[in-house]
Structures are given as structure tokens and as C-alpha cells.
Symmetry: C2
DNA sequence: CAAATTTTTGACCGTTTGGACAAACGTTAG
DNA sequence: CTAACGTTTGTCCAAACGGTCAAAAATTTG
């Protein structure tokens, strides 16, 4: 998918590719795929367009590389949910991690949201395969926890959806959240407030 | 903002403008603003590009008209929340209405989500003004309900955010929801399942 | 050092896109 | 019927865009 189709990558290639991916994340997350231009990404990366195209085959290749990496990090928190752990603690940790990701990696969250909004043209197979399997597995764990009375009974799949929706909301809809909370309540503390609220909502 | 700057609009103008807006909603909600072309919209509306531009000044004008209308409908359910009503019933009705909108008007939801994701360049003033005022008012009502013990105590602003996030999730992330639920659980019943789950979550 | 290889760039190309325009077509009122 | 007005279209344009290419510049290697 990338230009240096040869064997190993040089130091410069590794560095420049990282630089490009960082710049592309910034640009893509702000304007979406179609709304972003190679020139914008090149400028953000501090290089010329042909130079950028020396490291990546094209716009699509950059985007795909970006989203592939993203998915790994995206699923990690759910993967860490442990059937052997204490249910309340496990759920609380999961919510915390997801809120921290919304706070620390909002660009990644928006990139992902954008892809899903457009119908997930590039990652649909992954959603129907790997993601579905993972969610089904964890839903089973949650269902068992609920049966044991450790969590309030509810549909485990929708339970997971609700955690996704509420936590990612603080990254994807950040502008709206800040606009509504205003300058005082909308400061940096909003993520801590959100985390506390969500723990109460899902565990109270 | 629109071509016929003259006084009143003819019957044909009203009809054709509606046709264009319907087509534009379809196209914009699928590809976003930058990802959509006037030609696509014109074709979806069954007319030529110059003809479409006879009714609207440009691509931007179509989009703005669309989003202006949208905001009205979008805020309506929250506006209907009545301080004099029964808290449980009012919240339940609000959730129901929002889920119904996600089910019946997913294109509108995605259009809105797209605009917010891009930083709300066209509606930021509205978010900071009208929306914030409305939310503050309703948050006050909810806070009072909580003080009376009619609802579980929590931050009312984040409470509203959570309802927005969870309900709109079923429109904006529909592809993902269906992929994860699979063919059986992901059928038409998913909205009813979601509604029941959310009532339990927010009112249980 | 010089040769080989990698990296960078300016110039260029074909396509797509938003939009303009005048001419043609249709409709309606006097 | 015809003049005025509203509607539709074919044609055209300039800018933006994704991408190519050959040659120059820099770096690595022998």
C-alpha cells in the first residue's frame, strides 16, 4: 500500500511516515476524508506534496494506515475487561479508560466517528467480524455478572453501546458540550464531572 | 440567500425547493458537506445543475437552509419537557421521542452530527445562545425534580448529554450497531430494545 | 573520494468541481 | 396572438484537486 515497497525501511522513512500520519490525523479529524487535501496534510507535515507522496501511495493509503492503527487502540480498553475481576471495578475502569481516551485522543475519536457516519466503507468487515466477536464475548461476561446480581439487569449489548455513546460524546460533540456548559462549567474539569456522572449512571 | 430574491414564491418554486432539499438531505447525510457535489444533489432531485442553481444561490445556501430547519425539529422534544408534568413520565417521553427521531429521521441526525464533528462552523452561535439557554432552563427543572427525590440525583447537564448521546447513537452509529448486533438482534426491533434499555438506565 | 542510493522538489497533467451565462423553452395574462 | 415572465438547459470557465515525472539535492556506501 505504501511507496517503499522494498524490504526494510530506513530511519528517515520511519520518521517521515510518523510525521505524515500525525499531520494527517490532525487534518482528517477536522475536515473528514473528502474535506481534506493532500496539500493540507503536506503543509501540516512541513513538506511538499510530491515528497509526501513518496512515502505514501496516495491519500487513501494514508487514511487506511491511520484507521488501521486506530482500531487497535480503540478496542484495547474493552479487551482488558476481565471476567475474573470485580464487576463494579471492571465497569468503572472501563468507563474511566474510555473517558480518558475522549479527553486525550479526541482526534482519533472524531476520525473514527467520521468513518462510521459515512457508513464505515473501509472497516465494515472488521466491525462485523472482530468487533462483533469481542462484544459478544464481553456481553456474555456482563450478562453473567448481572445474573449474579453484581450489576443491575439490562441488555448487555445496549449496555456497552451506552458506554460507547456517552464517553465518545465528550470527544465527538466536544464543541456542543463546551457551548452548552459555558466558560465556567465547560473548563478542563468537564471530563472529571462526566466520569463521575457516568459511574453513577451505569453503576448506581 | 436564495435565487428568487424577489417578493413571493410561485407554486413551482416552493415545490422544486422542497424537492432539492429532500435530495440534498439524502446526499449530504451520506457524504458530508465537502464530500457531496451539486451534480449529485441535482441528479437525486431529477434536474440539471444549472436548474438547481436557479433555485438556490449555491451549495452552501442549500446546506444552511437544511440545517436551519433541522435545528427547529431537533430542539422540539426538549422544549416539550414540562416542569408541571410527572418527572418519570416526562423523562420517559423525552427518551421515547428522541429514539423515534433516531429511527425515523436518521439522515437529519447524521447531518447534524457531521456539522458538530467539523466544529459546528455554521451553528456555533446557536449552540452558545438558544441551545444553551434551553438546556440551562430544562436542567433547572430536572435539578428540582431530583431535589424532590423524583429522580436519582445527578448532574442535570450531563444527564441531558447522556440522553442525547445514547439516543442519537442509534442513528449516527447505525452501521456499527447493526454490525455488532448481527442479523437476528439487529432487525427492526433494535429501536424498541434500545428504548426499553434506556428507560431502565435513566429511570431505574 | 566517488559511485550508488535515497530523498526532495518544481513543473506539469487530466479530472472534478462550483458556478456563470445566454439562449431556448414553457406558461400565463392582457 | 403576443408580450412578459418564469423555467430549463447546453456550454463554458477558473480554481482546486489527486497524482506523475524527471531531474536536482542530499545521503549513504564501498
Amino acid at each position: 500500500m505504501d511507496k517503499p515497497a522494498g524490504r526494510k525501511r530506513t530511519r528517515i522513512q520511519r520518521e517521515k511516515r510518523e510525521l505524515i500520519l500525525e499531520a494527517a490525523l490532525e487534518v482528517f479529524s477536522q475536515h473528514g476524508f473528502r474535506g481534506s487535501t493532500i496539500d493540507q496534510i503536506a503543509e501540516a507535515a512541513g513538506m511538499s506534496k510530491p515528497n509526501l507522496l513518496y512515502y505514501f501511495k496516495g491519500k487513501e493509503a494514508i487514511f487506511v494506515t491511520l484507521i488501521d492503527r486506530l482500531m487497535e487502540a480503540w478496542l484495547a480498553p474493552l479487551r482488558e475487561m476481565d471476567a475474573a475481576g470485580d464487576p463494579q471495578t471492571e465497569i468503572r475502569s472501563y468507563i474511566r479508560r474510555k473517558i480518558e481516551m475522549a479527553r486525550d485522543f479526541p482526534r482519533e475519536s472524531r476520525l473514527f466517528a467520521n468513518e462510521i457516519l459515512q457508513g464505515a466503507p473501509r472497516i465494515l468487515p472488521l466491525l462485523e467480524g472482530e468487533l462483533k466477536e469481542l462484544v459478544d464475548e464481553k456481553a456474555g461476561i456482563i450478562r453473567e455478572w448481572m445474573r449474579q446480581g453484581k450489576l443491575k439487569k439490562a441488555d448487555p449489548h445496549h449496555f456497552i453501546f451506552a458506554i460507547w455513546a456517552t464517553t465518545q460524546h465528550y470527544a465527538d460533540f466536544d464543541v456542543q458540550v463546551r457551548a452548552v456548559l459555558g466558560p465556567d462549567k465547560g473548563g478542563e474539569g468537564r471530563f472529571e464531572d462526566a466520569a463521575r456522572f457516568l459511574e453513577g449512571l451505569f453503576l448506581g
